[in-house]
Symmetry: C2
Subunit: 187 residues, 2 copies
DNA sequence: GTCTATACCCGGATAGAC
DNA sequence: GTCTATCCGGGTATAGAC
């Protein structure tokens, strides 16, 4: 309760859930309106477009993501730190993570309006994981480790689909994922 | 040259490329027709629907996938064999692999008409990888290993997007991916 | 086998009353 | 803030001539 225009919040919650289940493109404004118990026109009082609903959902995790990217340049995080940070980021915004992975339209919307380079966003992370004298094998291992943190985290959490809010990642699970990723990274 | 109604084949090639780039939902019949140099009506002479074009593309890799699943029951393949088989399958049908991962509509079309159980298809693979006395940690490691073979294989091949046909997976790369997956799998 | 023309539907979005 | 009604565009698909 409290904070901000409650229907706006409800719309975002509904959208997050539907987008995660059916994808952004696969969800219509009418779907959201139905779940909300109103008509599509009512939605447009709160949001000027469907894309803006998406932006409303993405804003927060996107700054988190950029914070991680920023830390790559200022300090030099260890692989453990970096992979751990991505596990947490994925866990915190798992509905959005699946959505971004799955919907080309969403990916486009993100890269189009990103402060950062439009170029493949993960590339920088891979380079840091691979290290400075990265030969081809090292890059492959970096991809492998990154794949583990992203996919395994989602796999562990996906069973608890109901009750969208704060499904916590078990610390033991987190440790197991991180360990697997680090093994994949180091020969 | 030779084999079968050439325009039908050209349509399939074009569709495979466009579907991979823009997704199945993101590609219109008009897109395919334009690339083909004809109109949408002409397409419908060769295929009764857009979904049938997709089915035409999926048929072959789908039997390969089912062959692997079948081998799970008859013999007991080692983790190395199993993971290796998935690397090869992913490499051979990478355009389709991305498509399936990315488009919910495609996934639905597959599961709807699958001979096998409609239930999550990868589940069985995970169970085999995790082994018989699978505790939670073992299942996580199985997810990790599976994520590596799927994602890393695609990552290695994606740079060569042009010239869709037979981009071969370098044996050294394959070995590196497999090794990383096995390390993720075993504590 | 390919064309023009068109039917049909669905999704996003707007106008204007209440 | 929400409604009814409607526009518009794009997408799949069909009819029928050539």
């Amino acid at each position: 309760m409290s904070s901000a225009s409650s229907t706006k919040q409800r719309i975002l919650e509904i959208a997050r859930e539907l987008f995660a289940r059916q994808g952004y493109t696969g969800t219509s404004i009418a779907d959201i309106a139905r779940e909300l118990g109103t008509t599509t026109a009512a939605l447009y009082y709160h949001f000027p477009s469907k894309a803006d609903i998406l932006r409303g959902l993405l804003a927060e995790p996107l700054v988190a993501y950029n914070r991680i990217l920023g830390s790559l340049r200022s300090r030099h995080p260890s692989a453990t730190e970096l992979l751990g940070a991505f596990i947490d980021l994925t866990a915190d915004s798992r509905e959005l993570a699946v959505m971004i992975e799955r919907d080309p339209a969403v990916l486009k919307l993100i890269t189009d309006q990103l402060p950062d380079s439009s170029e493949s966003i993960n590339q920088q992370v891979i380079e840091v994981l691979a290290g400075p004298e990265a030969d081809r094998a090292a890059i492959i291992r970096a991809h492998a480790a990154f794949a583990v943190v992203k996919t395994a985290t989602l796999a562990v959490l996906s069973p608890h689909q109901e009750s969208a809010d704060d499904v916590k990642l078990d610390p033991a699970d987190r440790a197991e994922i991180l360990a697997a990723a680090l093994r994949a990274l180091r020969p």
